[in-house]
């Protein structure tokens, strides 16, 4: 069985204002303790996944580049020594302030072939607003370094930030493309409860504007198209051949295993994740127990919902014939009313349903009709 492997490094120097994921500013001692637990989980899970072949590997966070080269290698080695690997893609997420030439060389030597840089913006005002601890210059330097050692470099951008201009976003895109990157993930800013930005918004310190976000999104899409990037998923753009194999596994519902606190897994039948409590995660593994919580076996309906929701986000769309065969249903008949209602937002041909590209930005309201 081919699977993807995700490794979560839940540490950051400082939590960004929009972030509601698990990330901590921990002591060196605790990081060491966490890495020991991560190694223990790697060993334990590898026994469970004896027959699995690891096709893609992704170090995400948090900030994986916060780890020293030695620390990174420990985890990377643990995976190689315990799992059966046949990697087509290995990615490490890096943040501009913690990436270094030494680390990049170490990654390269460990077999990493893709770097994802958390740029978010090249506008210093926006970076401050988002609570990023790097500036434009640091981000550009990080990208330059990454491109120096890697052919496949991706950058994350956050778009639709209040106070941002279309001009400044396009400038970010232009500069990054000029450095020779091959992939961009452009996510709309979403204000999640429990974040600093949520509190600021609640206090009336700023307002978000969906129309503006849509304008920015349109402009970014057009500019990237001009630069030879194609959109293979709602928020993901790549030069031909540089689509992220790891990312695609989420949309295709192929199995993946998550290691580390708050990491998510899908074994083809059920979804589960590790505890978000990093200390508890370490404690559990120290006493020889997996830190898994929330294991839910998917019902047929769940699986159908996921398939529709995930495939419609992608360029390939939903293959109706295989959907019907897999679930023993007749999608076109069962959803006739919703399909009719959303006719103008969909491309339906040859047993395939795709979102019309101009309507990607309202995907949620369309997809929620079809699930």
């Amino acid at each position: 069985m081919d699977i993807s492997l995700y490794v979560h490094i839940p540490f950051c120097k400082k939590k960004c204002r929009y972030c509601d994921f698990v990330s901590l500013n921990s002591s060196d001692e605790f990081i060491e303790r966490y890495l020991r637990a991560l190694e223990a989980e790697t060993v334990a899970r590898s026994k469970e996944y004896k027959n699995a072949k690891i096709k893609t590997l992704y170090f995400g966070g948090g900030t994986p580049s916060l780890l020293t080269a030695r620390q990174f290698l420990r985890i990377s080695d643990a995976i190689k020594n315990n799992f059966d690997i046949d990697l087509v893609e290995t990615t490490v997420e890096c943040n501009p302030e913690s990436v270094s030439e030494e680390k990049l060389i170490a990654y390269k030597n460990a077999g990493v072939d893709r770097i994802s840089v958390g740029v978010q913006s090249l506008d210093n005002g926006i970076l401050r607003f988002l609570g990023r601890i790097h500036d434009r210059e640091a981000a550009i330097n990080a990208v330059k370094l990454a491109v120096k050692y890697f052919d496949n470099v991706s950058c994350d951008l956050i778009i639709g930030v209040p106070g941002e201009s279309v001009f400044s976003v396009l400038n970010s895109v232009d500069v990054l493309c000029g450095e020779g990157i091959t992939h961009i993930s452009a996510y709309g800013l979403k204000i999640e409860e429990g974040t600093v930005l949520y509190d600021m918004q609640t206090a009336g310190m700023f307002e978000t504007d969906d129309d503006f976000a849509a304008d920015v999104y349109d402009a970014v899409c057009a500019r990237l198209r001009d630069k030879g990037f194609h959109r293979y998923e709602i928020s993901n753009f790549a030069k031909a051949g540089f689509e992220s194999a790891h990312n695609k596994c989420y949309w295709k519902r192929t199995p993946y295993l998550g290691l580390g606190a708050a990491a998510y897994s899908f074994d083809g039948f059920s979804r589960f994740n590790n505890t978000e409590n990093v200390t508890l995660y370490a404690e559990k593994l120290e006493s020889g127990i997996l830190a898994e919580v929330n294991r839910a076996t998917l019902s047929k309906e769940d699986a159908m919902t996921e398939t529709v929701m995930l495939s419609l986000r992608t360029e390939g769309g939903l293959d109706v014939k295989s959907f019907n065969e897999k679930f023993g249903c007749d999608f076109m008949r069962d959803k006739a009313e919703a399909l009719e209602k959303n006719r103008r937002f969909l491309q339906i041909e040859n047993n395939n349903i795709k979102l019309n590209k101009e309507y990607y930005y309202i995907s949620n309201s369309i997809i929620s009709d079809l699930i």
Binding site: G160, Y256, D302, L310, N342, I362, N364, I367, S368, I371
Partner: protein
């Protein structure tokens, strides 16, 4: 058997918050009818809503005993509802009494509503004993109050008892005055049974129960009773009195107040105002004044979630068991699906029913704009009555229309007269009279179409007079009027649930106001939605709901698919609360948003 001369039947007339319920509680407590330990504040108002709003909806009665000069007296307190919507119920409970306590707040003086009920009581030849309450408050002005009672009502009030129901001051003196000042019932226990139903309610085990005042004769378990209005005969299974909980007794006889239970399935068979007599020895003098209750205000009530239609049906049926004045019949709306057209006594009644449906039956409702009964003369010569705008025939089939008009009495401090006249003018009112009752009180008389009153008149009156003015109204008849049906179009499709019947002069302003409200209440959708107000196909106002251009493009983080799925499922769930008008999804709240529009 208690001699008639030792019985007093009385009610309490008071303005809302002038302390009626508190006084009732205090009387019950002082006569040891209920031990202090068991007293719950405002014992007689036993519905949650009543206690919260401080108003009485369903009548309650209580029998008390009090010893005066070595003799024991039976005092029957009959509580009266305190709102204009329930005037008929008030008049029936007054008919069950010989006397009334007129409770006046020493800090406020007489209010409009009090007067209405005082006049009702005088109409029923009740002996009225004025009582000045809240004398413990610093701002109390008992002398001014007495003067006002004499000036406004013409009742001698010089030796009116001064009390504080809250503090328990003057309560025993008041009890004695009830015995000395209020007349004993007349009636004769040896005559054929003649009992007035002044209220009825439904008990899950005993069926419909009539609350009665026995005028003549006697009634006991096993008697065959007959309802005079319908001729229906029932076997009495229980008779009793309220203390204030229902307590069975052997017999009810002339002069008493109590209840009769006779395994009656439907409260409609125990109509308020009807007379109960014995089947084999009927009375020759039934009580007069019985009238069938006719609803004045109508609205469509729908479940917010269309699949809850049956729950709504059950709830309405259960409420109706207790409230014979609630009428409903099934109705279908293209926008809202299956629901009910309901008839109410007035706006407050409507609000109370809605609130009880939501609270007691946990229903989420969508209510259409309240409407009245219009008389429509067709070109064919036929005349029909329409309350649902959707049922109004096309304009070319209508010869003319008539709408109900009320006589509105508004009592206000003189400084607000100008503001009220302006309001009445805006509401198509016709000025009739203005009188100054005293230096601090004036009475305005207007004739106003009912459809203006039910719209937002109460709210406007309150806000323009800082709550000082009060309103009483009664229907005086129908008047020809230039009425039109105002339709709302969403993306070109008519939405029946948003149609209203308005006066032509009001249509433009109303149309604009509704369109503006809808623009804000309808969420942006995948396409632009024109919101148009139309009269007979002619667009008179237009707003646009802009197309949504973005929803969430957020990261599907680290394979956390479940979170994304939940988000979409929540969105799908939210859509269930939406109604489909053509291609437009309209949230339930949008239908409600147009109910309160200031125009």
């Amino acid at each position: 058997m208690f001699d008639n001369s030792k019985i007093r039947n009385f009610c309490i007339i008071a303005h809302i918050d002038h302390g009626k319920s508190t006084l009732a509680d205090r009387l019950i407590e002082s006569t040891d009818t209920v031990s202090k330990r068991d007293m719950e504040e405002q014992l007689l108002d036993n519905m949650d809503i009543e206690r919260e709003r401080g108003i009485t909806i369903k009548l309650q009665t209580c029998r008390m005993f009090y010893e005066y000069r070595g003799e024991e007296y039976m005092l029957n307190l009959i509580d009266t509802p305190g709102h204009v919507d329930f005037t008929y119920e008030v008049s029936r409970s007054l008919a069950a009494c010989e006397g009334a306590l007129l409770v006046v707040d020493a800090t406020q003086g007489i209010e409009a509503q009090t007067l209405t009920n005082v006049y009702l009581a005088l109409d029923h030849d009740l002996e009225i004993l004025p009582v000045i309450n809240k004398i413990d408050l610093q701002s109390a002005n008992p002398e001014g109050c007495k003067q006002e009672i004499e000036d406004v009502i013409g009742l001698p009030a010089d030796d009116a008892p001064l009390i504080s129901a809250k503090e328990g001051i003057g309560i025993s003196e008041l009890l004695e005055r009830i015995i000395t000042d209020l007349p004993a019932p007349k009636g004769n226990a040896d005559e054929p049974l003649r009992a007035l139903i002044f209220d009825s309610f439904y008990d899950n085990y005993k069926g419909a129960i009539s609350m009665v005042r026995v005028g003549d004769g006697r009634v006991k378990v096993g008697d065959k009773i007959k309802m005079v209005s319908t001729g229906k005969v029932f076997d009495v299974t229980e008779v009793g009195v309220f203390t204030p909980s229902a307590t069975p007794v052997d017999e009810l006889y002339a002069g008493m107040v109590g209840y009769i239970s006779a395994s009656i399935k439907n409260v409609r068979d125990t109509a308020v105002g009807d007379t109960i007599t014995l089947a084999d020895n009927p009375t020759k003098n039934p009580y007069d004044g019985y009238k069938k209750i006719t609803p004045m205000v109508f609205a469509g009530i729908y479940p917010a979630d269309g699949s809850k239609y049956n729950d709504l049906k059950d709830a309405l049926e259960k409420l109706q068991l207790n409230d014979a004045s609630l009428m409903f019949e099934p109705e279908v709306s293209t926008a809202l699906g299956f629901g009910y057209r309901c008839g109410f006594l007035g706006l407050l009644h409507m609000e109370i029913i809605e609130e009880r449906l939501e609270r007691e039956f946990d229903l989420d409702l969508v209510t259409t704009a309240p409407s009245v009964n219009y008389k429509v003369k067709l070109t064919s010569g036929e005349e029909i009555t329409v309350s649902n705008p959707t049922h109004l025939p096309a304009p070319d089939r209508i010869e003319y229309m008539e709408e109900p008009v009320v006589k509105a009495e508004i009592y206000t401090p003189p400084e607000y007269v100008g503001a009220i006249m302006e309001l009445c003018q805006e509401k198509r009112g016709v000025y009739k009279d203005l009188s100054y009752l005293d230096s601090s009180r004036s009475k305005l008389l207007y004739e106003i179409p009912l459809n203006e009153i039910i719209y937002d008149f109460f709210d406007a009156l309150k806000s323009r007079t800082r709550g000082y003015a009060s309103l009483d109204y009664e229907i005086i008849g129908y008047k020809k009027s230039d009425l039109v049906k105002l339709d709302m179009l969403l993306n070109g499709e008519m939405c029946d649930a948003l149609s209203t019947i308005v006066h032509r002069d009001k249509a433009y302003a109303r149309g604009r106001a509704i369109a503006e409200k809808l623009k804000d209440a309808i969420p942006r959708q995948q396409f632009e939605i024109p919101v148009q107000a139309c009269i007979g196909g002619k667009v008179i106002a237009r707003e646009t709901v802009k197309a949504v251009r973005k929803d969430v493009l957020a990261k599907c983080y680290g394979g956390d698919i479940t979170r994304k799925k939940k988000l979409l499922e929540k969105q799908k769930e939210g859509k269930k609360r939406m109604r489909q008008v053509g291609s437009v999804s309209v949230p339930s709240e949008a239908f409600m948003s147009i109910l309160k529009i200031d125009s």
